[in-house]
């Protein structure tokens, strides 16, 4: 059979692609399945939709700092402003750029930028508010993630899978609250509080508050809630008997930027 050179090269190319492609398809679509022997832990806390109510009347700066410290300690959050080893010292501008914050303090005008009034009570103007990821019910960050590395869990917590994140930072652009941080470099030299039970993160991935999902799944409350001495309530907003619902019934609460429709699930009792 006469095959000219052009046809021969074409068929070699075709068979190579089929061979490699076929094998890859096989590997991808029929991976070895592990028998699914797993379960929810009995002690795990369950809810249809987690929410948080922060009572700023019970929260003062001292308690707030304890909450922030509890979170930072549990999650190995790096502190670029105060490295223990002096050779890692960076100027404050860089520290501000590389900051990782899951929960932190902001004055009223930054936490609620559209609500600031010129003649509002001074105490409120100067008060420092605890801000964190709102774990929104209609999260724009989840909408934009190209790999589903961030997604909304069944119980409402917006999670990040650090293994899948490609570091595109689209979610950071999408978040209207500035709740997300990125690891611009390796954070480990700057981790001062060390928790051996939680991993650190690598350079190149985004991170944020996750309502302590790993603690909830083991039956514990979020670290900030535990440290807050009752100032932060955490519970199921769809359970009419929960602490959170009771507080929402009894007090008028505000949320950050509700007009954007992201349905933030952190409510603030401000006075």
């Amino acid at each position: 059979m006469e095959v000219n050179r052009r046809q021969f090269l074409k068929s070699i190319g075709l068979f190579t692609i089929l061979g490699i492609g076929g094998w890859s398809a096989f590997e991808l679509l029929v991976p070895g399945q592990i028998e699914a022997q797993y379960a929810r832990k009995k002690e795990a806390l369950r809810a249809k939709r987690w929410a948080m109510v922060i009572d700023m009347t019970k929260m003062d700066e001292e308690i707030a700092k304890k909450c922030i410290e509890a979170c930072n300690k549990i999650h190995n959050i790096p502190d670029f402003y105060h490295p223990v080893d002096p050779k890692y010292k960076v100027d404050p501008k860089k520290a501000r750029r590389w900051e990782i914050k899951w929960i932190w303090l902001e004055p009223f005008e930054h936490a609620f930028p559209d609500l600031e009034e010129k003649f509002m009570p001074e105490s409120l103007k100067e008060k420092l508010f605890v801000v964190l990821c709102n774990n929104c019910d209609n999260p724009p960050c989840v909408r934009v993630c190209p790999t589903k590395a961030t997604w909304k869990r069944e119980d409402g917590i917006v999670m990040i899978d650090f293994h899948r994140c490609i570091g595109c930072r689209f979610c950071m652009a999408a978040c209207p609250f500035g709740s997300r941080s990125f690891n611009w470099g390796d954070p480990r030299p700057y981790v001062n509080y060390r928790n051996p039970e939680f991993p650190t993160r690598e350079k190149g991935v985004v991170e944020k508050c996750n309502f302590c999902a790993e603690r909830i799944d083991q039956g514990l409350l979020p670290a900030c809630v535990e440290a807050s001495n009752g100032a932060i309530a955490f519970g199921d907003i769809l359970d009419p008997n929960s602490e959170v619902r009771r507080l929402l019934r009894e007090h008028y609460t505000i949320r950050r930027k509700p007009h954007l429709g992201t349905e933030p699930q952190v409510y603030y009792i401000i006075m």
Binding site: I34, Y38, A39, R153, H163, R188, R194, P196, F198, R201
Partner: protein, 142 residues
Amino acid sequence: MYDGGKVIIGLIVLFIICTFPFFYNMGRAAKAPEPKLDTPAIKKLPEWERVCVQPTPWMRANHMRLIDQWRNWALREANREYIGFNGKRYTISLQNTCLNCHSNYDKFCDECHSYMGIKPYCWSCHLQKPKEWAKGELKEGR
């Protein structure tokens, strides 16, 4: 052959480059990997309890797939309990369950990985020596 000299020299150079690893390592057999199981946590257990979540041959072949599945179950489905082959229940966690018994990652995990020339980057995030790291006993912030 057109340009015969250059072609033959080129082929010889190619042959040398392709077979270089074999010649370089000739006569230097690397020691077979011997992952050590003599960690304090394992030694504390009675003999009959010294089993992993799955039998050893299965783990040897599938531990990477298991860890992958563990991540999806724990993170994406909030299911953090694994039922081992003998019915025992484990918390799904690389750092807290696996490394609890296998706390000597450099004499266990690294043994086979170095032999095979594999560098999994688990340890840039997961702490390979959690307790020492927490106490600040590791160098360079690691």
